[in-house]
Amino acid sequence: MEFKSILYADTNPEINKIAPAFFQDLQLDYLLGLIERSAKDYDIRQYYYSFPGSVDLIKYRQNVFSDLSNVQLKTAIKTFCLTMQKSRAALDLCNQSEGAVQSASFYIEAADLYWHAVTSFLNDLSECSLSADGFTLLVKHLEKHIHDLREAGFEQAILSANDFFASKRFKLHIDNEYVTITEAADEENNEEDSDKDADLSTSRNYLKDLASLLSFGAEEEDFTVNDIFPNILEPSYMESVLMNTLMKNNKALFKDIRSFQSKFPDYQSKLILNFEKEVQFYISFIEFKEKTQALGYPFCTANISDTGCFSGSDVYDLALVWKNSSSDYNVVSNNFKYNGSASFFVVTGPNQGGKTTFARSLGQAVYFSMMGLYTNASSISLPLFNGIMTHFEAEEVLQSNSGKLKEELNRLAPMMKQEKRNSFVILNELFTTATTHDALIMGRKVMEHFLSRDCYGIYVTHIQELAEETDSIISLVAQLEDGSNHKRTFRMINAKAQGYGYSDYLVSEFNLNYEDIIRRLS
């Protein structure tokens, strides 16, 4: 197998350009917004819109992630991408600038950066232990690409063209009357020009001295001043004047740099350019994962089972985590286990009891697992699903009851007509405006439809009869938490007609009974 893509191996999958229907219901659009922040210079959205679709490809991605847990590798990739970006920027400038000498100099800079990017990347990769096919194939491709370029004399050409920029240093002296530019003398060899006064020497770096005096932890690049005249397409007046002065005094200065472009019109590898974009899918998700973990929530690698086993522990709603990330709100996680074949969870329980959140967290878990990403749980095992279908109550409240029911059925119909097998289905509060009797009948029919097509699913409802357990229906009940006084408990306290009455009630309300205080102070 040859390297083709870090996302799709050697397959050619169909890639959706728009978000799937379930994205909004599962709040994946919100999460994707968070994830893509880490990949700010790349458009990674559409990578998230299609499932890889095979167990092999899911594992291909999982293996890439597993290699990427090596920080060294991650850093190498980031460095590579950064240099590639710089190279592209230089190439853009080359295409835009008007002066021939200037354009040629940008072209060389771009080529130089590209060469630097691929060679150091290969170097870095060889120092990491890699086991994912995605990376071992990439290494082979890089080796060949670098070898080919080197054979063609690319490296040598860059070195000699670059020499001009790298080796020549100039001394610029400015006082109130004159600007003076001279080639900086080689300090050791030129007795005449070397200043006796070390303070005035061209080898003195004022900023370096200052940094050590101020104990300022500066990077090497901070010790030089760059980007003085920000318009990079065109030399500033001062730069032109200085350049002219120099050319007048040394005509041979610019000879070498103009022939490079005609020799190497097309040196980039398309697959590597593509890798740079696609790898952002991994890098950005890892950063998202690390930030989430820092908030105290786990991730795991999904186990794709072929036995129909579907269970997980500590699944939680990622969107809820992030929407509350600035407060110390603790998002509850859940364990679940389906029977070993197509079946539905029917979730009942009081309002605000976390039913929808649970359904959403399960949907997210299926989605992330099927994408080959890390899953929002501490462990999960699930079969390969062909898709996810969701039906959440629309927020439209202005409609009449009959209108709402119709709207619900209209959205449900296409889901059922698709006749897709092996999907994961989330139905949230269907038929709330129908009578219980009707809703029960319809609800059962809908579940039967999906069950007969080997779908797993979760059905959130108020209708307790729907939760009557069968072989393929598992009843779950949302429990209200009876925790410390920080959380809303819905415990009812009856104020007794006699006895301590109201004060007793107040003491309980504020959790000031002896036992309460002991617990609070523990």
Partner: protein, 505 residues
């Protein structure tokens, strides 16, 4: 660099204060203390309030401040001079911040921001040198670790060298000469420019005289020089270069500037606190009312003893020494004070609370001697007499108040309860208080409670709970009150029976 005058190795920033400060200040009348410390100085008032409301946690921390206070008390000229530095610098800083805030929205005024920054840096540097020199001048007398270490840090901070470097930045304001070594990079743009040096005019003249012949050669023979005279385009590019350069140089000073601002922020706060303490001590000295440097015991200790403790706000208000109390508790965790109204119970509770708070911020305390454990938090829960009435709204307020305190309470904190839960019947109040006191007791929380809940006091007394002390307000047989607390069984005597006696006469 930091001044570290409040803590050995940190400032007060981010330190956990009393969670119910405003209750403490109100219940213990601390505003009078703050006023005495401030003497109309708003800044001192603010800082006195802030620092007293952050309890120290170890005897070492407390002694650290006590030592500094002693040094300042012996050299009051030093604290005044240092406070002047702090005030001056606060003003300069306020001005600087104002200018930079104003300019943040405008991009055109970059030059003036640069100038302000350089000016502030220069003046701040001078002030640092001044502070160092003030401390240097009396360093031989210092006994405190805090002042000695501060001076040592200032001595090793290269203050004079940095001042010299800052002086050179005058180039960017008055002109002079500058030299770079640079390269031409992609697009033939200047890049990797190394600054060799810059200097203002004076230095330039000296140099010209030495190198005159070579400059002339460059200008006229080699034609390496371009004249700025009459060339406005070039001049404006030179300004641009100069601005980028100073901005780059300022980038190096930026952390130093931030440090400097932090230093002065902290220094001003710390000195203001000590200034307040010294003013307060001076005032008490004028009134001939004694103060004692307390002896703190570590967290978890349960021994408290004091001689002639008095209620500070009353003393300042009356300008004389009020009633004093001397008591000693060993291994004591719960103190119940009962007795007649107007017997000095609340006053006593307050005097103890004030002394405890003052000790825990390192200050001298209103007593002849005072020794007590350090508590992690102190809570005051006083009945607010003015609106005392028997209704459920009051009880609800009281309970919710103490409940919020319990949210912040833990082992080894101190509760001062003054007639809490009196806004319901005695039976109900006793029951509520009983649950709370027992839970506190169990969880190693110390409590001192003034109460009229006789049922509560009596049942606790009869139980003979260890680590518990019962005090009563002393009352002579003729009904006269001495306002002193003495150990004794809970008394059911109330204002009413005395009143009844008066009627009999």
């Amino acid at each position: 660099m930091d001044s570290f005058l409040l803590y050995k190795d940190s400032s007060a920033d981010g330190k956990r204060g009393y969670s119910h400060r405003s209750d403490i200040i109100k219940d213990l009348n601390l505003d009078i203390l703050f006023k005495t410390m401030a003497r109309e100085d708003i800044f001192v008032a603010e800082k006195a309030r802030r620092i007293t409301m952050i309890p120290l946690e170890t005897p070492e921390e407390i002694r650290y401040r006590q030592e500094i206070i002693k040094d300042f008390l012996n050299h009051q000229d030093i604290i005044s001079e240092l406070y002047s530095c702090a005030e001056r610098q606060l003003k300069a800083l306020r001005q600087y911040k104002e200018v930079t805030e104003n300019n943040r929205t405008r991009t055109t005024n970059r030059t003036s921001e640069i100038i302000e920054t350089l000016n502030y840096l220069n003046s701040g540097q001078m002030e640092l040198i001044k502070i160092r020199d003030i401390l240097r001048s009396s360093s031989v007398f210092f006994r405190s670790e805090g002042l000695k270490n501060l001076l040592a840090r200032l001595e090793s901070a290269h203050l004079d060298q940095i001042a010299e470097r800052l002086k050179e930045t005058d180039y960017f304001i008055t002109g002079g000469e500058i030299q770079y070594t640079l390269q031409f990079g992609g697009g033939l743009k200047i890049c990797n420019a190394t600054i060799n040096y810059f200097t203002d005019k004076t230095f330039s003249k000296r140099r010209t005289s030495q190198k005159g012949w070579k400059n002339l050669y460059n200008k006229y023979v080699k034609k390496d020089s371009i004249s700025l005279t009459g060339n406005e385009t070039l001049r404006s590019d030179v300004s641009r270069l100069s601005e980028v350069t100073i901005l780059h140089v300022l980038k190096f000073y930026r952390p130093y500037l931030t440090d400097m601002i932090h230093f002065f922020d902290h220094f001003a706060e710390e000195i203001a606190f000590y200034m307040g303490v010294i003013r307060f001590m001076t005032r008490m000295d004028e009134l001939h009312i004694p103060l004692a440097m307390p002896k703190p015991l570590p967290i978890g200790s349960k021994d408290t003893s004091f001689v002639n403790i008095y209620e500070l706000s009353m003393a300042i208000y009356l300008q004389m020494l009020p009633v004093v109390n001397s008591l000693s508790f060993t291994d004591n965790q719960l103190t119940i004070i009962t007795g007649a109204n107007q017997g000095g119970k609340s006053t006593f509770l307050r005097s103890y609370g004030i002394a405890q708070i003052m000790m825990q911020c390192g200050m001298p305390v209103p007593a002849i001697s005072f020794s007590a454990p350090i508590y992690t938090q102190i809570f005051t829960h006083f009945t607010r007499r003015e609106d005392e009435q028997l209704n459920s709204g009051r009880l609800r307020e009281e309970l919710s108040r103490i409940s919020r305190m319990i949210d912040n309470a833990s082992k080894n904190c101190l509760f001062l309860l003054n007639e809490s839960f009196a806004s319901t019947t005695e039976k109900e109040g006793s029951r509520i208080a009983d649950g709370i006191l027992r839970a506190f007791y169990e969880k190693d929380i110390s409590t001192m409670m003034v109460t009229h809940l006789f049922q509560l006091a009596e049942s606790l007394y009869n139980e003979q709970l260890p680590h518990t002390t019962f005090l009563v307000a002393e009352r002579k047989d003729d009904g006269a009150r001495t306002f002193r607390m003495i150990p004794g069984a809970p008394s059911s005597t109330s204002y009413g029976t005395d009143l009844f006696k008066i009627l009999e006469d």
